[in-house]
């Protein structure tokens, strides 16, 4: 069990380093800078917790605050990544800019309010302020991320906008991680300390799957639209002539 916990703590972060390396190598940070920043902050957070773990005696209080602040910062950055995905997919089209900005803002407001209400109800407040804060942020951010992703996916499905492979990978990765967090954070809030280890393992598995998804999608080549050439049919020429006549008259 101890090996599994160490594995889930270290390996996903090493893989995330590889994801960041590939992301920067393919110059994708020009298209989605927020994701590069998110990954870099996540790695810094990991390094800070490693430094804490190596410190003797173990600084519980500092470790708690690093977890809480890191989680808070990552939650904000994850929402920023989702906003950038929305911008790339629908806001870039002028006719939808206003509509999708409103939709995003309204969804965010509703999710923020409901997550605050639910996490307030779920909280099992311990004497550690940092731990309470961490639990609230963890649950709320997962709730908001899942909600925003669903809104974005349903909206783009309704309009039939297709996503590039790596953008789907990033959204899917965030979705998997947030769903694991959502399921387990509520569990931790109800059962408290006895559930900490199992929840940590569950969230670690979720993050591991998330990073693997990012890695696979970044390694996948882009699939171009397939076609069998550009031969012109008689019907097509007739349609051109008919439509051009309409334009002229």
């Amino acid at each position: 069990m101890l090996f599994l916990r160490y594995y889930l703590w270290i390996v996903p972060n090493v893989l995330l380093g590889l994801v960041l390396f590939l992301f920067l190598g393919r110059k994708l940070h020009f298209q989605l800078p927020s994701f590069a920043i998110y990954a870099a902050v996540q790695l810094l957070d990991f390094l800070a917790t490693v430094m804490c773990a190596l410190h003797s005696p173990f600084p519980y209080r500092v470790y708690g605050w690093i977890l809480a602040l890191g989680d808070g910062l990552n939650a904000i950055l994850a929402v920023w990544v989702l906003y950038e995905l929305t911008v790339k997919l629908v806001l870039s089209l002028s006719c939808f800019a206003k509509l999708s900005r409103r939709l995003f803002a309204a969804s965010l407001a509703v999710l923020l309010l409901s997550s605050a209400a639910i996490s307030g109800g779920l909280s099992d407040h311990s004497i550690h302020r940092a731990l309470n804060l961490f639990e609230d942020i963890n649950f709320s951010s997962a709730f908001i991320e899942v909600g925003l992703l669903l809104v974005l996916l349903v909206f783009s499905r309704a309009l039939n906008v297709s996503w590039r492979n790596w953008l789907v990978g990033i959204a899917l990765g965030f979705g998997v991680d947030a769903c694991f967090d959502l399921s387990s954070a509520a569990w931790r809030a109800v059962y408290g300390r006895p559930a900490l280890i199992s929840v940590d393992i569950t969230q670690g598995i979720g993050f591991h799957i998330c990073v693997l998804i990012w890695l696979v999608y970044l390694l996948l080549p882009e699939r171009p639209s397939r076609s069998s050439g550009s031969k012109l049919g008689k019907e097509e020429l007739e349609a051109w002539s008919e439509q051009l006549e309409k334009i002229v008259h």
Binding site: L150, R157, S162, L172, S225, S228, E236
Partner: protein
């Protein structure tokens, strides 16, 4: 306990929904296959079905029972036209996306125009279909000011214009 179980279940359901939606949003376009799925839309007939003057004429010249039955058939037919136009627009979104990544800037511009128009049409259709079904139950109710027919005509012209520089796989003739 119950709340935690609800959220655990919610997380699992959301995971399933996200995976399904993300999979369906992946770009997978064989344009030839998509072109074969296009169904022609008779814009003139659609305009006639949506014409309030025509509706008024039928109301004045038919008995109430006959009018309701004819009106229901007209609205169902209009809803089918809108669904068909929206489906065609979804296919044209794929064509426009393919044009948008062309090296030729003029093709890119044409692709972007087509994409905006096709998405607009899908958005109109999403708003219009429920209104048409309401109009079946309540004749005379406003069906909205959506310029769907004009939009479809423009979209068709844009495909034709795009086809002058980019392979449209017979889409312009199939609309």
């Amino acid at each position: 306990m119950t709340l935690a179980a609800i959220f655990a279940l919610l997380g699992v359901l959301a995971l399933g929904a996200i995976v399904c939606l993300a999979k369906s949003n992946t770009r997978n376009g064989n344009l030839d296959e998509l072109a074969a799925q296009l169904r022609p839309v008779d814009v003139r007939a659609f305009r006639n079905l949506m014409d309030y003057g025509e509706e008024q004429f039928l109301r004045e010249n038919l008995s109430f029972g006959d009018f309701r039955s004819v009106h229901r058939e007209r609205m169902v037919a209009a809803a089918e036209y809108v669904q068909c136009a929206a489906k065609n627009a979804a296919i044209l979104v794929r064509l426009a996306e393919a044009a948008r990544v062309s090296a030729d800037p003029e093709i890119v511009t044409a692709g972007e125009r087509l994409l905006e128009n096709a998405l607009k049409l899908r958005l109109y259709a999403l708003q219009m279909i429920p209104r048409l079904y309401v109009a079946i139950l309540l004749p005379g109710v406003a069906r909205g000011p959506y310029p769907l027919a004009e939009n479809y005509d423009t979209m068709r012209r844009q495909v034709v214009m795009l086809g002058l520089r980019f392979p449209t796989h017979g889409m312009s003739s199939a609309l």
